[in-house]
Symmetry: C2
C-alpha cells in the first residue's frame, strides 16, 4: 500500500471516524486543501484563485498558497489568462491537470474484461477492453489476462508522464468492499476469490493500491457523477439484477458492501424456485435469461430481439414485460418505502426496455408507495449507456486524491 485507501462509502468508514480524531493546525490545512481542490474540480468553468476565494470563504492569500501546492503536485494546471471580460487584472484560470494523475478502472464481466485509465480532467488516457468468455477460464487465468491489459495501459500512461494512484476492480457479485475477497459471483462461476491478493502478485500492480467493488455500485458512481440528482436508486440488471443506492452523491454500500441486492427481493413468496434457493425472487421474472424465455425468445436474441418482438406487438413478449414490470414495480415500491428516495434510474439490460416497462412499474408504485401522494417517485433513464461500471471504477480510483489531496502531496510533488 502506497498511501491512503479510497473507498466507496461504507457505513464503517463514515465521516464519524474523523470526528474521533483530534484536530490540529495541520487538519485545517488538509481540510482547506481538499475544499479548494473540490471547488475547482466541480466547477463548470475554470476558476481563478480570486473566484475560489469568494466561493470558499477563504482569503485570496490562503487560496494562493494552497493552489501552489496543488500545482506543484501536478493535480492542477494554470490556463492562459482570459482578457477582455471585465476591468482589472485578468485571473489565471485553474483546471484539473491532464494525463498526470491517473486512476485505473478495471472490470471483469461475463463476456469481457476491461481497463480504463482516467485522469483528473475526466479524459480517458488509455483504455483496453477485450471480449472473453470468462466462464471458460479459471479466475486465475482471467486475472492474469487482466494484468496483461493493465501492463499495456500502464506503458501508455507512463509515456505521457502519468502516475497511477490507484485501481478499482468491479465485479458482478458479492464483494467484501473494499479489500475483498469476492464471496460469490454466480454468473462468473467464481466463489471466494481473493482477487486483490492475486492481482498484487503481478508486477503491473506495483506501486498502487487496488480495491474491489460491486459492479452495480460502480455504475451508480458514474451515474451520480453525470447527473443532477444527488439521491437515487440505480437498477443494474444484466444476467443478475444488481442495485445501488446513492445518497448525497455517495454510494451507500452497507456494512460489508453488500447492500441493495435487488435481484433476490421476494416478489411472490410462493413463486417459482430461484437459483438462490428461495422462492419468487425478483430475478425469476426480470433477469435477462428468464425474461427472454418468458417472451418465447432464444437466450441469444438479446434486448434487440425482445424489442423487435414488442414493436411487432407479440402477445407473449408483451405479457412477459407486464409480469416483469409488475415485479419490478413491487420491488421498487418496497425499496422506496424503506430508503425514502424517490428517483429511480433503470440502467443495464432494462434501460432500452423502459418505454414498455415504465407503465407497469408506475402502476404498482402508485398503489404501494406510502408517500406517493406527497412525493411521487420518478423513473429515469440513465445518462450513461455503456461502460458505466468501468467509468465508475476509474472515478473511484481517483477519489482519494480528490477527497484527501494532502495525503498525496508529498508523493506527487516532484522534488528538484
Amino acid at each position: 500500500m502506497v498511501n491512503g485507501v479510497s473507498e466507496l462509502k461504507s457505513s464503517s468508514t463514515n465521516g464519524n471516524a474523523n470526528a474521533t480524531a483530534a484536530a490540529r493546525q495541520v487538519s485545517i490545512r488538509e481540510h482547506n486543501l481538499g475544499l479548494v481542490l473540490r471547488t475547482i474540480l466541480h466547477a463548470e468553468e475554470p476558476m481563478s484563485r480570486a473566484q475560489v476565494a469568494v466561493q470558499t470563504g477563504l482569503t485570496r492569500a490562503t487560496v494562493s498558497m494552497l493552489v501552489d501546492q496543488l500545482l506543484a503536485a501536478r493535480i492542477l494546471r494554470e490556463l492562459e489568462p482570459v482578457t477582455g471580460v471585465k476591468a482589472g487584472r485578468p485571473g489565471t484560470p485553474l483546471s484539473p491537470a491532464r494525463s498526470t494523475i491517473i486512476g485505473l478502472g478495471l472490470e471483469i464481466n461475463v463476456d469481457y474484461i476491461g481497463v480504463r485509465a482516467l485522469d483528473l480532467s475526466g479524459e480517458v488516457a488509455a483504455q483496453s477492453v477485450k471480449a472473453i468468455d470468462v466462464r471458460r477460464h479459471s479466475a486465475k487465468e482471467t486475472l492474469a489476462k487482466l494484468a496483461e491489459q493493465v501492463a499495456q495501459v500502464r506503458k501508455k500512461v507512463r509515456a505521457t508522464g502519468g502516475v497511477i494512484i490507484g485501481a478499482t476492480l468491479g465485479l458482478p457479485g458479492l464483494v467484501d468492499a473494499p479489500r475483498g475477497p469476492l464471496r460469490l459471483a454466480p454468473n462468473l462461476d467464481w466463489h471466494d476469490v481473493d482477487a486483490v491478493q492475486m492481482l498484487d502478485t503481478f508486477s503491473a500492480f506495483d506501486g498502487f493500491t487496488t480495491q474491489l467493488a460491486n459492479e452495480a455500485n460502480l455504475a451508480a458512481v458514474a451515474e451520480a457523477a453525470a447527473r443532477e440528482e444527488s439521491n437515487f436508486i440505480y437498477v443494474s440488471g444484466e444476467i443478475g439484477i444488481g442495485g445501488a443506492l446513492v445518497l448525497d452523491r455517495e454510494v451507500f454500500a452497507g456494512q460489508h458492501g453488500w447492500s441493495s441486492e435487488l435481484g433476490h427481493i421476494t416478489v411472490d413468496p410462493d413463486g417459482e424456485i430461484c437459483q438462490c434457493g428461495a422462492r419468487g425472487c425478483l430475478q425469476r421474472s426480470v433477469g435477462q435469461e428468464e425474461l427472454l424465455a418468458a417472451a418465447g425468445l432464444e437466450p441469444t436474441a438479446g434486448v434487440e430481439g425482445l424489442i423487435a418482438a414488442l414493436e411487432t406487438g407479440q402477445t407473449r413478449a408483451e405479457n412477459a414485460i407486464a409480469i416483469a414490470g409488475r415485479a419490478l414495480g413491487i420491488t421498487l415500491s418496497d425499496v422506496v418505502n424503506l430508503f425514502d428516495v424517490n428517483n429511480i434510474i433503470i440502467g443495464g439490460f432494462h434501460a432500452p426496455l423502459l418505454p414498455w416497462l415504465q407503465p407497469h412499474i408506475e402502476a404498482q408504485m402508485a398503489q404501494r408507495v406510502l408517500t406517493a401522494a406527497w412525493s411521487k417517485p420518478k423513473i429515469l433513464a440513465p445518462k450513461i449507456k455503456d461502460g458505466a461500471a468501468l467509468a465508475g471504477a476509474a472515478l473511484t480510483a481517483l477519489r482519494d486524491v480528490q477527497e484527501h489531496p494532502a495525503a498525496w502531496l508529498e508523493m506527487l510533488t516532484a522534488r528538484p
Copy 2:
C-alpha cells in the same frame, strides 16, 4: 429559534455539508471541544483531564483549557479526587453535570401523551405521562394538553436550576423531519398537522427549539444509546408497524425522514387489501389488531391474551403466529438484502412474542437472505422495554449540545 438545531441524521444533513465550509482556527477549537465532551460523556467511568488527553491525543494543556469552558457552561462538573488508586497526584474526575442542561422528550400516541426532562447525565429530571384517548380530541386540543404538561415539567426544571435547550416530539406517523409538518398519522387520525408551529404558540415552548420525528426512529435512538451493536434494524410494531435503521449509531432517516416504513412492505402481492389501498402489506398479518383477530381474540385481549393462548397451545393462535412470523421473516429478509445490516431488534408490541415468532422469522431468513452463509442475521430482544420513544426523543433534544457544544457555550456560560 435560540441556537443551532439538532436533528436525526437525514441524508441532506450529512457530514458532507461540513466539508464544504472553510476551516479556520476556530473550527479546530469547536471540533476539539466536542471531542473532549463526547469522550467524557461516553466514558464508562468519570475521567480526569490527563486521561482525556491520552485518549484524544490532545495535550493536557489543551484539554484543561477546553474543560474549563465546559465547566463554566455547566455542561460538566468536577467530582472529588479519588485517592489511593496509584502513585502521583490524584486526578479530578469529570462527569456530565446534573440537572443543569435539559432536553425535553415529548410523545403523543394513541392512548397517552408524555413529557420527559432529561439531563446530560442521563437522569430523568422530571416527567409527566398521562393516559388520554387521542382519537377523541382534535390535534389542537391534544397539543394544548401536551403544552400544559410541558409547563408543569418546566416549573420543576427551573426550580432545580435547569435550562431547557430543546425538545423533540415523537409521533406515530409520516413526519417531515425535523420541522414538520406531520403528513399522516392514521392511528391518531391526524392529517397534515403543523405540530411545531402549533406548539410554538404556547408560552411553555418559549426559548428553545422543538422538532418532530417519527416514533420508531426515536425508539431506535434510545435503543442505540443502550446497547453495543452500532448497526441494526429496529422493528417497532404497535397498531401500525414502524421501523428504523441505525448505522454507526445514527438513525438513517432518509431524504424526508420517511425511511424504514416496514408496515407496508409487500409480502404477498395478491393478498388481502390493506388500509393503505395496496394488497398484501406486512401490516395485514402482523399488525396488533390483525394478529389478535387472526388468533381468534378480542382486540382488547392485548399481548397478554395472545401469550396466554399460546401458552395453552391454542391452534388458532399458533397459526396466526406462524403466518405473522413468516411475513415478518420475508420482509426482514428483503430489508437485510437491501440494507446489508444483520442485527434485527424486535421491539414494541412484538417483543414479548419473540419466543414464538423467532423460529418462523429465522426459517424465512435462512432461505432468503443472500448473504446468510457469511453473516447470519441475528434477532435480538430490545434492551429498553418501556418508553423507548420518549427516551429517544429526550436524547435527541440533548444531541446538539453534545455534538456542537461550542455553539451553545456563550448562551450557557453564566456571566458574573
